[in-house]
């Protein structure tokens, strides 16, 4: 298969940023494709894991942030477990996610950033995840209010969905951790 890459931009592509963020060495990849063979969502993406690495090696730029794999990835880590060179590809995907969000280029159909924000907001607020609030905020943000609605009554009756927010966590400590993370971002790290 031929991989076509847009002419290398003056910035030199995403390779360096990804390698630094994920602490990986992508030149170790020799395209054995074990990662792509084991990937449970390879059939739902035009660029499976080995191809994303190849594109990065060849100097791909921001256009790579549109690849479906970034937001279809299940973090199952099968690619990492089977890589003969121990390349942490899930960390590469996480790095691409973070870069896409920073550049405001997260694919619009990728609701994962919205869900992650809703989840982390409740953790920041209570020190623990408050599932009902996470789901409510996610639903409001995505506009898909009807999804899974039929499941809620029985989950509430069975006590499988806590109604009240979690208590007992050291929420102050968690706020500090989040503040430090925000400070690091502010310093451009």
């Amino acid at each position: 298969m031929t991989i076509r890459i847009a002419k290398r931009k003056a910035t030199g592509g995403l390779l360096k940023a990804v390698e630094e963020k994920a602490e990986v060495n992508l030149s170790a990849c020799y395209q054995c494709k074990k990662c792509s063979i084991g990937c449970p969502v390879a059939d739902q993406t035009k660029s499976p894991p080995s191809e994303v690495i190849r594109r990065l090696q060849l100097g791909a730029g921001d256009e790579l942030l549109q690849t479906e794999l970034i937001w279809n990835c299940l973090s199952c880590e099968t690619c990492y477990a089977r890589c003969p060179n121990q390349i942490n590809f899930p960390a590469v995907i996480d790095a691409l996610k973070a870069i896409a969000i920073d550049k405001d280029q997260a694919a619009p159909q990728g609701n994962a950033p919205l869900f992650n924000r809703a989840f982390l907001n409740s953790v920041k607020m209570y020190g623990r995840s408050y599932e009902l609030q996470t789901i409510a905020l996610y639903k409001l943000g995505s506009g898909n209010l009807m999804q899974d609605l039929e499941k809620f009554p029985s989950m509430l009756i069975k006590g499988k969905m806590a109604v009240l927010p979690p208590t007992g966590a050291d929420a102050g400590k968690v706020k500090k951790i989040f503040n430090k993370a925000a400070q690091r971002k502010g310093m451009g790290k």
């Binding site: 449970p40 899930p90 623990r128 995840s129 599932e131 007992g168 966590a169």
Partner: protein, 289 residues
């Protein structure tokens, strides 16, 4: 046998049955789990997808609390187990992350607190021979598929749980309760749980594929040790019917529920009523002695 227990956020919500059955089993066996006071969220999948340093700091905060208790940390949620083990590995291997964790938490952490999954405690610390003596009820004749999913076994270096491609620790427990382990190749496949709310169709298709493999191997129920796997495989069966036109009726039970039943604990105390797909056929097959 005393451990620092990290329940994880879902223990008080969607995985209450996992938590309740774990505590019921520890009570019956005399294993002491001391809940970590003031424990906080491990960051789960949302943090590592957002900010790697934030993710490692959130998980390390609890590991530091366990360190102060001077005990190994026991986790029953496979996702929290995974994040804690990965945090240990990352802190050990990356000086930059170690520095950032120290900066976030105001104290240094070296990644040295042992993290154990509750299943490891049962099999490796309590021991199968000792466990066998406590069994009062048997699942003789019930064909069971042991399902591990991702978080327990991957990434192999950090998890160090069992053979990453062909684990057998759950099977050893199923063997103790008298069940018949089916041979199948889906036990470390992904259930798609991470996209459960975001890209639901991926989850529904992945989980259906797992159930189909277990069914083809003759399994009458699937036994899990992860709340994300349990939710995807169990709760999504109605969506499999809608989307794929397949009605599986496959009970998906926590290993601690299975073990609890074999120890003679009441289904109520094990949260059996919280399962979506009724495990009535499995319960009917239990034999005393």
């Amino acid at each position: 046998m005393k451990y620092a227990y990290f329940p994880g956020c879902s223990a008080h919500s969607t995985a209450r049955d996992m938590h309740d059955s774990c505590l019921a089993v520890t009570k019956a066996l005399g294993i002491e789990l001391q809940e970590i006071d003031g424990w906080t969220c491990c960051g789960a999948s949302a943090a590592h997808q957002t900010d790697r340093e934030l993710a490692v700091a959130l998980a390390s905060a609890n590991l530091l609390l366990a360190q102060k208790m001077g005990l190994d940390m026991v986790v029953n949620c496979a996702a929290c187990y995974n994040r804690s083990k990965v945090a240990n590995a990352e802190v050990q291997h990356s000086p930059a992350l170690r520095q950032s964790v120290a900066d976030s938490l105001g104290q240094a952490y070296d990644g040295a607190v042992p993290v154990r999954h509750f299943v490891e405690v049962l099999v490796k610390d309590y021991g199968l021979a000792r466990l066998r003596k406590q069994i009062t009820h048997s699942f003789r004749g019930v064909k069971i598929a042991a399902y591990y999913g991702c978080y327990l076994v991957r990434p192999p270096d950090a998890a160090g749980f069992d053979d990453p491609e062909n684990p057998s620790i759950l099977e050893s427990l199923i063997d103790v309760v008298g069940g018949t382990n089916v041979e199948w190749s889906g036990k470390v496949d992904c259930c798609g749980g991470m996209q459960n709310l975001t890209r639901t169709e991926i989850t529904v298709r992945r989980s259906a594929a797992v159930i189909e493999m277990a069914q083809a191997a003759g399994a009458e129920c699937i036994v899990v040790a992860c709340p994300m796997c349990q939710t995807s495989l169990d709760l999504r069966q109605t969506d499999m019917a809608t989307l794929l036109g397949k009605q599986y009726n496959m009970p998906v039970i926590y290993i601690t529920q299975l073990l609890g039943l074999a120890l003679g604990i009441s289904p109520q105390a094990l949260g059996i009523d919280k399962l979506v797909v009724s495990p009535a056929t499995v319960l009917q097959a239990i034999k005393a002695g």
